[in-house]
Symmetry: C2
Subunit: 363 residues, 2 copies
């Protein structure tokens, strides 16, 4: 789809103006803003062609133009100049990220909050781990009726559980179980913890009190919880900043979908894509019905050890793609670096590959 250089300039100017104002853009405005020395009449001709090419549309006969999803797509793929954050901006993001990551706690929530603050759109963060296994079991004997199970996972997180028993156990027994679990339950995934395995362990431990199954249940719980993708969304209320969501019903519908944990990406695509890649889904390119007239920008990161994550931002199709992409990119790279993922940090630039999705609008 080759279009003239001037058309490109006009389209870019129009999209940017529309992103800024949220009002249909007319020929005169473009004639002034875009630095090409020609009159509004010329622009009108060009606009007319761009419209028939499917990049623009008119809300009604006598209004300015508005980009179609295909128009945005063209903008994102070819026109938009990748915004490069200033060193200060990048620094600031990194600083805030550091601050957030200091407390081990609620990383994913914090990151999503941060992304939302930075972009002023609702943001979500997902992580998934594949093939998590237990690396090590420890059982701390507290008293005759109490012990603490501590497991260290292959991704270097540590989980624990306090167990109270109605009956007494002796320390020896606990130690025996601990070593049995360390030999039998480490290095395997949750679906490999079969009733068979549990049974044989129980017999080997000479356990008549059901301790084995308690511990095994915890192992399964921990493993499956770690493997399950976790997600967090925040800043839904920022949607209300956007004029296209002044209609409370619309806003509510989308916000409900988002806070209900609705899928953003088709599950099978969720975690593909390398480190720092940015994906943009424009309007109807989204799979979820609720997102059909919104856009999503997603950055992937790789935290190593089979852990991948996404940070995404949701907004109207009239989104400031360029700024959002730049910011998410810094975030994603920072996360990869910090969480110990691959270290292929780009020399210094924030330019990332854009995975193009759904650009087959006009063939």
């Amino acid at each position: 789809m080759a279009i003239s250089e001037r058309k490109k300039k006009i389209l870019a100017a129009l999209v940017e103006e529309y992103i800024r104002t949220a009002e249909p853009v007319g020929s005169k405005a473009i004639a002034q803003s875009a630095g090409l020395g020609c009159s509004s009449a010329t622009i009108r001709n060009e606009l007319s062609e761009l419209t028939s090419l499917g990049f623009l549309e008119q809300p009604h006969t006598s209004a300015g133009r508005v980009p179609t999803p295909a128009g945005y797509r063209m903008y994102v793929n070819e026109l938009m100049q990748r915004q490069k954050l200033s060193l200060e901006e990048t620094e600031e993001i990194n600083a805030r990220m550091n601050q957030k990551l200091q407390q081990l706690d609620d990383t994913i929530g914090d990151i999503s909050r941060l992304a939302s603050q930075l972009t002023d759109y609702p943001a979500l963060a997902l992580t998934t781990r594949t093939a998590v296994t237990i690396r090590r079991f420890d059982i701390i004997y507290v008293d005759a009726n109490t012990f603490i199970i501590v497991v260290m996972l292959s991704d270097n997180t540590v989980k624990n559980k306090l167990v109270h028993l109605p009956i007494s156990v002796d320390q020896k027994q606990v130690q025996r179980l601990s070593s049995l679990f360390n030999s039998g339950f480490t290095g395997i995934t949750d679906d490999q913890i079969t009733p068979l395995l549990i049974n044989s362990t129980e017999r080997a431990a000479d356990d008549t009190m059901g301790l084995t199954s308690v511990i095994a249940a915890f192992a399964i719980e921990v493993l499956s919880a770690s493997a399950a993708p976790s997600s967090f969304i925040s800043g839904e209320n920022r949607l209300l900043h956007q004029p296209e969501f002044r209609d409370p019903d619309k806003a509510h519908k989308l916000m409900g979908y988002l806070s209900g944990g609705g899928y953003i990406l088709p599950p099978e695509n969720d975690f593909v894509g390398g480190n720092g890649d940015i994906r943009v889904l424009i309007g109807p390119e989204n799979v979820a019905e609720e997102l059909k007239d919104s856009s999503v920008v997603i950055a992937s990161y790789d935290a190593g050890d089979n852990t991948k994550g996404l940070i995404g931002v949701v907004g109207p199709t009239r989104m400031d793609y360029s700024a959002v992409a730049a910011k998410l990119s810094v975030l994603a790279q920072g996360l990869s670096r910090r969480l110990g993922g691959s270290t292929e940090a780009p020399p210094e630039g924030m330019h990332n590959k854009l995975i193009i999705k759904g650009d087959n609008f006009n063939e």
Copy 2:
């Protein structure tokens, strides 16, 4: 403030009708709905008096009446019949609570989500623990450069941290530290962990590698994190259900305040109040400017062991106080019971004391 029986009935009918419809209520509507056999003209006279008493107001001369905050207050304090959930409803809430509490994880978040779902208003949950101390230290030696700190707190939660060191330590050293911490750092609160204490421990342990301060820092972090009130809010988007928040600016302002973790209660009042008490703050009774024309219903619970919590719901002053209070009450009581707080469960009724706040509207 004694008002006639009939006035009370009329006021109650009006408030309930307004809660239902969100439209100013006229004399005719009341004449029909309230079962008192008198004509709309009579009602009009009564309404007029109720208005001059300050319980009602008119949006404009020729509209129906709307309750003032004082009117709601009167309704909540004296008129509203405490709604008693049916056994099934109570059961259902309890079942859902059980389900949520199964996974240890994110209790406070889950509870707030549940409250929001049940009431269809935004809900928030807070907990605070006072005087948390460490009950027990364990340090698990993983390898020469790695160990896991496990601390068990006075509230029976267990926290851990994985520590990687650039240098090697030997197992003996770790054991010595463990026992030193167990004797020196247990049973004290975070502000009692002084540099002095850390120094003397360091010397006693003959620790030249700074392990002591790492462990002490973790102890402080854990203690202060446990003592700090944590809060969670969810369902902000449900505000948009309410006609009074059809104005996106209003909605956004409040939602922003809520998700920004704004204070609901004046800090000094936060956690007073016994188990299952319900507090209602109507409109201007709220301290936060952003809440001045919203209402808040709050249930307190006591999870024992110096742990207190709140579950609250935010909505327009035209809130279904009675239903909300009933539901929160079940939730709060369920939480107390489950989290091991006091067991003074009311015989079976859901009737709770209402702490009256700010009922000095008409003296």
